[in-house]
Symmetry: C2
Subunit: 428 residues, 2 copies
């Protein structure tokens, strides 16, 4: 079943708004076995709308429009549809009383022009919108079906999931579904993962099975997508590839599923082993604590942290001696080790993690260029530091240092001997 | 000058990638006086490409394509253009040696099929791409001009700025430029700002001047956009509106410009007055420290912070007494005040800021529901706490609490008596 999407709105063309509606719809429709072949983004101008809509209805089996339904858009979508399909715009009484009720609750006077919002082309079925004042529409024509949605993203999504997809499923047409499965790794670069760890997959891939490596500062995500006429058929196609990748990538994989995050996975590992953690952050400046506490329930295993930007804070709150800082510099193995120990002991946690480095853009030297980072780890039975050299970009350095720190915790608890990015363990 | 953009790539249609190229181009072209009237997103399929390209060249004065140039796409863009314009694909020697050089450096063997990457339609001018292996193209036809760009965003942007825009500026055609100016506020909601503070702007607005309120967790941004035939003309149109808004919104405005951020503005205020700050974070869990240290040079005024998730950390690192916590609960005015004082005094800063609250989703009670937040402020001459009630969403509560905390610092230093969102000051 071939589908064209028509996105209406000047704000999309001049770049004030990114067309996330089209990509969200593209994904939902593709998952539902609909083949999205074109997206047309146009202005809210009647003649353009009519001509693009007419062509789309001729070329595709299904056409979906978003936007152009609000009162400020002169309702061009409804007008264009009524004119094209040759029917009248009539006031829908259910919509009218729903809108009147909303206006009353908000204490806004209901004017004559607001009646237009309750108007619908007589030949269309209403997809009642409980989330806003613009109704959705459905028309099942002989040549093609038409779905009409508001442009406000949460209204559009709600109507798609609850009203539009059931309608689409009710019409006949060839389906080819697509589902994706995600595997998240950490502490390994995209090219090392694909070239050295997983290797050539071409014998497992075909027109119905695709693999993509998606880079991220914490490591790389692997998306395995399959096409087929049913979910079972797709799973059957994906499973051999997934098993192969799981086998090859082994402990580099921290979790599965689209929303898998490193801080959540580290939290699970801590919770499973009934361990607590604390952090001492210099160059990451609170990034680790913030990422860990984004996870609901993190207070079960995260006791707290010290962001020690000033050396005085490293000394007073973490018990790093002034001498160690003066002898080795704040960015050093010795200070990283003492900070990690201080975090665990002063804050009373099982595990202490620390970062000290030059995040940039300033502060680098020939010996210690911007991007030089030391990460310290302390637990009762082990105590070591890792040295990394990242980029000259402050925010990336913060994010990558935090990711290495968190992945170091995960690997240490799980007794994985190789450290993130193959970094070497330095002991005291 | 009317322009159509053609975005090529299956990943855009199935929603794996959001079409940010089209919105970025839409904005740059609009700023350059080009009127983007349609965006067509299509698959990398030759016949579709030819038919959409042909129609676009008939309807618009300028057509710009992105994508479909890589070796994995079978070069459909170049093939479609050559067939439509009736010319041959020929190998460009400069591109060939550039690509060969890249392959050599990376140690990848150069195969026969890589020659295709150096092929260009003979009738087109090459826009040499120094950032990758896919060349840009330019064709100035009698009816319409055509610009061809790679789909990789940074290559596309680089070629647009350095090669394509000068070409577009060299061709004739009516121009109507658009520029936007941004004013950033904090500690005030979008509707209060627009309805109560700034009021009705309709007498200042017309077809050439628009105002939009863009909500954000820290407050609201105001975008004032103008159209005209020159930058001077647009400024002339925007200035009365900008002055009016500056006058009305006064100290709610924290800064101007598209990239203005609250943590950067707070940093400037601290630096100007040679003051230092420290934070004691419970419910924000490191968000404040992380936002403050995102700003280069923040070590000049930020000494550090304590993330005190466990009560033991509040007691040991911040000097909050066990009794105060037991009597009032950790989420209380008294604890917020002690945490702020502890941050300033234990970490040796001029200003201490604190947060303690129930971020959610769990942990709420009837008396203290999820979203209950206390923010403490301590400086030598003042000491108070604010109470807010936010949402039931953890991440939004963290972000909004941090924004109120930072804006409280800014307003206190600048002697602005009204607190964010009109919150009342509670003293000890």
């Amino acid at each position: 079943m071939e589908c064209h999407i028509i996105s209406i709105g000047n704000e999309l063309l001049i770049g004030d708004t990114v067309n996330t509606n089209a990509s969200w719809l593209g994904q939902r429709l593709t998952e539902s076995g609909v083949d999205v072949t074109q997206v047309h983004t146009i202005r809210d101008e009647l003649n353009t709308m009519k001509s693009v809509l007419q062509t789309a209805l001729q070329q595709a089996d299904l056409v979906i429009t978003t936007g152009g339904l609000g009162p400020t858009h002169d309702d061009i979508t409804k007008k264009a549809i009524a004119e094209l399909l040759g029917c009248e715009l009539v006031v829908d009484q259910d919509i009218l009383s729903f809108i009147k009720n909303i206006f009353e609750k908000r204490g806004i006077p209901f004017s004559k022009s607001n009646y237009h919002q309750a108007e619908v082309p007589e030949c269309c079925e209403v997809l009642f919108n409980t989330q806003g004042t613009a109704p959705g529409l459905w028309y099942n024509g002989e040549q093609a079906a038409l779905g009409v949605l508001p442009g406000v993203p949460f209204e559009m999504k709600h109507l798609t999931n609850n009203k539009l997809l059931p309608k689409i499923n009710s019409i006949s047409g060839d389906r080819r579904y697509r589902f994706s499965h995600y595997l998240t790794t950490a502490g390994i670069g995209e090219s090392t993962l694909s070239d050295e760890v997983i290797g050539d997959l071409s014998s497992l891939l075909n027109d119905n099975v695709e693999v993509a490596y998606l880079p991220s500062p914490q490591g790389a995500r692997i998306r395995v997508s399959g096409y087929g006429r049913s979910q079972d058929k797709i799973n059957e196609r994906l499973n051999p590839v997934l098993d192969h990748i799981r086998d090859k990538a082994g402990t580099f994989i921290i979790g599965e599923g689209k929303d898998c995050s490193l801080s959540a996975e580290v939290g699970k590992v801590l919770q499973n082993q009934k361990l607590t953690m604390a952090a001492a952050e210099s160059c990451t400046g609170g990034y680790i604590a913030n990422a860990v506490t984004d996870i609901p329930g993190s207070s079960d295993y995260f006791v707290g942290s010290v962001t020690a930007y000033a050396n005085a804070v490293k000394i007073k709150e973490l018990g790093v001696s002034k001498e160690v800082i003066e002898t080795n510099g704040a960015v050093s193995k010795e200070v990283a080790l003492k900070m990690a120990k201080g975090a665990a002991q002063e804050l009373n946690a099982d595990i202490g993690i620390s970062t000290t480095g030059i995040a940039g853009p300033g502060g680098g030297s020939k010996e210690k260029p911007v991007g030089t980072i030391w990460i310290g780890f302390w637990a009762q039975n082990q105590h070591f530091a890792l040295q990394a050299l990242f980029t000259n970009k402050r925010l990336i350095n913060k994010e990558r240092s935090a990711a290495v720190a968190l992945e170091t915790i995960r690997r240490s608890i799980l007794d994985i001997s190789e450290m993130p990015y193959g970094l070497k363990k330095h002991s005291a």
